[in-house]
Symmetry: D2
């Protein structure tokens, strides 16, 4: 577990510098699997809405590592007995590796093809990879431990909670980072203050009660980022178009269609036979380049949708709130009649389809993340929403709007055949 002879640094816009002090961390960063994260954006299709949001999962992963390093350094400086010092390198490695299984445009791909980045992470950490070799050479049990921490099954829960909890290094980095690169300043909170008020306590990271307002500020930042950035309707639209492309390509593949262009890794994705090697090739440049060729496919739906995605001719949307529910079925029927396939040219979006993460006070089914606990005095824990009106209100907010997305430009061509009140509804 060699230290580096001389600390190395990365210049980072969010944390100013990222400090690497251990040889294994340096080696992990230089693996092929980790370098690949440079070619996968942190925010998927959000760059279509916020043009600055081109930052990669590589930058975020370094950032999570750095926040974890700062937390541990604070714990060590204060000599908190509840922090197990021997877990330092494991915690740092897991922080760095936690997103390594992500593929291109994960949301859309996972939904259409049923892959899970968590599974790929396990394969990448435990399988025959450069990452595995670095970990194994450091300590033969390290690959398994890293995988356990990422899958939340590691025995010492304090290590897990550093990268997967309501107040973890992952969220702390991505809020600051996404705010920085999109340019919205809602996501900003006082990281240095949060670091000062957290403590290891009974296997979890808790917050000194005097830090309540700092956590409120952090949760408000989260709330604002969800509404302003992560749930942004234009971003949703670009995800929908991308999903429709994948659905169409999958259907064509199943129907035996011969693609004009189909590079091997994407072929195996369509057929559901992805190998680890192919998975590693599949990055966002791979997908985008393929779309640039699919613009020229004979299949007009695939070609049109690919062109829409690349040239940002996205779907428009209206809220379905005020319309009687069966209307969307009527619309789909009508579209079919005028020759616009509703399976590929319309979509209903509930915000609740989006992984919802603002803050939950109560533990839900399948939700392993503990709520945020305040530590009053020496040993009294209280869940934060019991003390804070602000947090209670954030955690009670329901996301419910249903929207329908559709290609305004295409429907406008047929609008003359449409009932007049529909035209008004759809803004045609």
């Amino acid at each position: 577990m060699a230290s580096l002879q001389e600390e190395k640094v990365f210049k980072d816009p969010v944390h100013k510098y990222i400090y690497v002090q251990d040889q294994p961390i340096w080696d992990l960063i230089n693996t092929r699997e980790f370098q690949r994260l440079r070619r996968i954006r942190q925010l998927g299709t959000s760059f279509m809405t916020f043009h600055g949001a081109e930052h990669s999962r590589f930058t975020h992963s370094l950032g999570v590592y750095e926040v974890a390093r700062k937390i541990i350094s604070q714990f060590e400086r204060n000599a908190y007995s509840e922090w197990p010092r021997e877990e330092r390198l494991l915690a740092l490695s897991a922080a760095l590796m936690h997103d390594i299984g992500h593929g291109p445009f994960s949301h859309s791909v996972e939904r259409v093809f049923g892959t899970h980045h968590e599974e790929w992470t396990c394969q990448l950490v435990l399988g025959d990879t450069e990452v595995n070799k670095v970990l194994r050479d450091t300590d033969p049990s390290l690959p398994r431990s890293v995988s356990d921490v990422i899958c939340k099954s590691y025995g010492k829960s304090i290590v897990v909670s550093m990268i997967s909890s309501q107040l973890d290094a992952d969220r702390m980095d991505y809020l600051l980072r996404d705010a920085y690169f999109t340019g919205v300043n809602y996501g900003t909170f006082d990281l240095e203050r949060i670091l000062r008020v957290i403590r290891p306590y009974q296997g979890h990271i808790v917050v000194k009660d005097s830090g309540m307002h700092a956590v409120e500020d952090y949760l408000m930042a989260r709330y604002q980022m969800y509404w302003q950035v992560y749930f942004h309707p234009v971003t949703r639209s670009s995800e929908i178009v991308l999903r429709k492309i994948f659905e169409r390509a999958k259907k064509l593949s199943e129907d035996g269609y011969t693609f004009g262009f189909l590079p091997p890794a994407l072929g195996s994705l369509l057929r559901g036979t992805l190998t680890l090697e192919h998975y590693l090739q599949l990055d966002e440049s791979y997908v985008q380049m393929t779309l640039s060729q699919w613009r020229l496919e004979r299949d007009r739906i695939l070609a049109d949708l690919s062109d829409r995605f690349l040239n940002r001719r996205l779907f428009k949307y209206i809220s379905l709130q005020t319309f009687p529910e069966p209307w969307e079925e009527e619309l789909r029927d009508w579209m079919r009649r005028v020759g616009v396939d509703p399976d590929y040219y319309t979509a209903i979006d509930f915000l609740s389809d989006v992984p919802y993460d603002v803050y939950r006070a109560a533990r839900e089914e399948g939700d392993s993340s503990l709520p945020i606990m305040l530590l009053e005095g020496k040993d009294n824990l209280v869940e934060i929403s019991r003390k804070s009106d602000i947090v209670r209100s954030i955690s009670a907010i329901h996301l419910g709007e249903r929207r329908i997305y559709y290609p305004e430009d295409r429907l406008r061509l047929e609008a003359f055949r449409m009932p007049a009140d529909w035209r008004i509804r759809l803004g045609l």
Copy 2:
């Protein structure tokens, strides 16, 4: 020349917001050719050195437009008679379009294949494109005027100097933007103050003499960015590796090699038969995806170099300053003998090969950019380096270091056969 009914904005990390007030500007942004700039990075391979530097030419082009808009708005607010108000839309369009001809990794591609982004810009503005249509529909003479402004041949030099001079909207945006996304804070200068001290005067943008220190600050920012970012030796290394890939592929293509993977646009680039349509397909995802397949080519040099680029196994370098000059030839001979082709695995780099731009007081051959002039009193113009010691010192700095780049890992394998003093020189 319709105004938009309601001003539209883009959220931008550098200028906070980018304001669009004219329908033609809005339409230009939505063309296929402009959207393509999203897939071309502003700083080429610099993201290998500064992981935040993934920002695209799309964001920079919007930024140049916004700086130009601010300059014009200042000129209009102060009712300066030397600003020709009727040129507003032309100036804004040219600011937005000035980089539209850029291809992927322009430096390396242009050097190997002899293409010029300026020529493609003309083709894109004057040819059969969406951009041309928007301009033509606004005013039939607009495509030609935009092209003239970008090529610096437009009659009213004040419009040209807004986007191509020592103190233009292009440089002002890229310094701030590149500083922001790399995270270095040397590139920061007080844009608002510069805007307050510039004036249109006799067909040029000049600076009120009380603004001298603000311009010094801007030129220092430029100087620092060149040394810290643009000339960074790791960035140079990644450019060299990429250039070697293209040189190898071109050679293979000339030799009749059959590529395992060669998508059409890249094929025509190698053969020197690029059409406009292919040029538009050629973006950085196209190149990167191709490299991911070239990693698997039979040709071992192409495969190895592609792998190096993708997985950031770059060349190391040493300064040649202190060595007798013929040594590099000896090294190349030795490499040839041990089976490492020096044509692809070594390169000499002079910094002066890099487009040098810190600041030149004197006009050089072929340099159309006027120096920065201070306006003293009502009508006395003085070139800034005659008044400012700082600027004089910046403009006198010579860039001269010669470096040799080489694959340290590869040479290390053969180091036992190498003269001992060479091993020390090369750090093996």
Copy 3:
């Protein structure tokens, strides 16, 4: 109403620059009465808690002017018909002048001596002052109009609401400014975005409904600033000590005590006979210098309290929440017995004594400030807390903690005579 020949600017850390375009505004800034605001701190005694908070009401007043200027400029640029253009100079003057009546450490002084800064503002605007002369020379009716706007009785309510409402130039500047100078970053919100979503509508400034989240962010900034800065218990302590000084001095004056040092303006304050001329002399340097002499007074209470204030030997506090209410009376009795006068050495503080301003949805008795209204579509107004859970929760928060402040160092000397459980309570 002459424009300045050339725009003048002040460098400002919060708004970057403050632009002055009108001669009367320039002249108002240069009056003796406005320059005096340089010697009165914006945040009273908060500099004892946040050492950066030395900024003056002069800087804040310029800031309010600048925010008002930006609002008006937005209204004019968009040519909103509901904004009365002829009121521009009045609105700017009132924004600049709104705090001109403030004296030193207003909170404490007003509480002890029953003065009101609003009344002094009227006297300063309407009386025989340089401010009055500038206004009168611009337009004879201007002094009265300015005074009416500040007192909220001016006919055109839109002008009033620009400087006195839940979303006014005053609050927008002080949140940003106090956050900047204290260094807390909770007070930051996106001013540029707020400016983009407000509209004049039926005599009020309302918010486009799409701007709801921007207003939530602004109200959260307000909420955080209240808890982190304005209600900070150490600041409360320094205000209490100062109040006790004034109470003691007033008592001594009433009792005919002969002060070793009593400059004229402070003498007339103690006797309740302040003239306008004396009021203008009374700034914070006047008070602080006097305290430095009162440290040497024969009266030991006045001397001790003055020393405590100057050298920051403040009172400590505990919450009374958990104690039975009459205890504080017992404590006062005990203090009297051991020779520590409880009238000057103890104080009960309710947070609700503080001007409470986080946000009220409902209009209370005597509260002239309208709630914030969202404009849905063309003409539907909704109070924001009806749409926003966050705002509803902020506006429902009750401030109720009662604290007792006491001189810990002094009581510690007598602690051996104190019941043991009291010692624990008081941390002695």
Copy 4:
């Protein structure tokens, strides 16, 4: 040398937080002598030019301490053998105390009365003060050591160079702090990067040669701050008016004039009989309050100058560059003839009168500060201006302009009696 049980922090706008870890540091901050620095501005009269610049020497002293703490912490973390670990508390104490002898408006006061803040610092550290007691109780030799470090006579020069050298904690804090509070952003440099490139070496703090550009950036920040802030002509004007007030008061005192208001400490300053106790009372509120009373003095010159200072009716200036030198004597004669005493109403200002500090490569007479040395390889030291063109150019810049200051408003009244060409020169 007890550590604090729990680290204490101050919120600071420049360094975010200032961390106190040692009981003696905490106790020093709470002394009467250190708290007094709250009432002395860091930038003297600069608040007249930059309204945000109200920050005190208290905030700056905490900042110098914090920078020193960061430097030492870096030295300890890297275990540099050349850093004497046992000097930590001494270095921190000296950093905190280095400005403790400063009085109000030091520049003007020291020039008129011949006092020296360095001497007062020694008295405050070595005499019968709270500061002395805290130091003595920590270690009986500490007062002497602290005084030696501040006077640059301490044996271990590395401790001295931390707070008094060309790249010391003092300058690093004040550049950042003065830039922050004035709002100019020229003073910003990358402190974190500087911290990473400095090393203790042979009793001095030197810079790794790869850090040259970071130091260039720091020196440019210094250069810009000098021109934009410290030498600002309006600030010079306010210092001149203040100096004239003191000169007049001193003259009156010598002539036996009976002041309407003369508080004791100022009296002893005028008579040259200042005691330590009086010196401690003399802060800027003391001076400003006195000026507010001197506005009402019988002596018309003292009254008028005091009014000018308080209400910012400063002197204007012109450059004497282009005029034949004896002219200023002619002007003085003429002023005498029209009844405006030139001894109090005019002043010649050379910028070279100002303590000049941009950067000197060569050691001058009486200049104990070593130049900045770059460390090449293991043991080659080179003075930075030998490597850097930028630094060479900064250090060669001569400040030479001579200006004359005069009361434009007053002279305008007599302008009709003045030669016409003088009127033009003086802008009357």
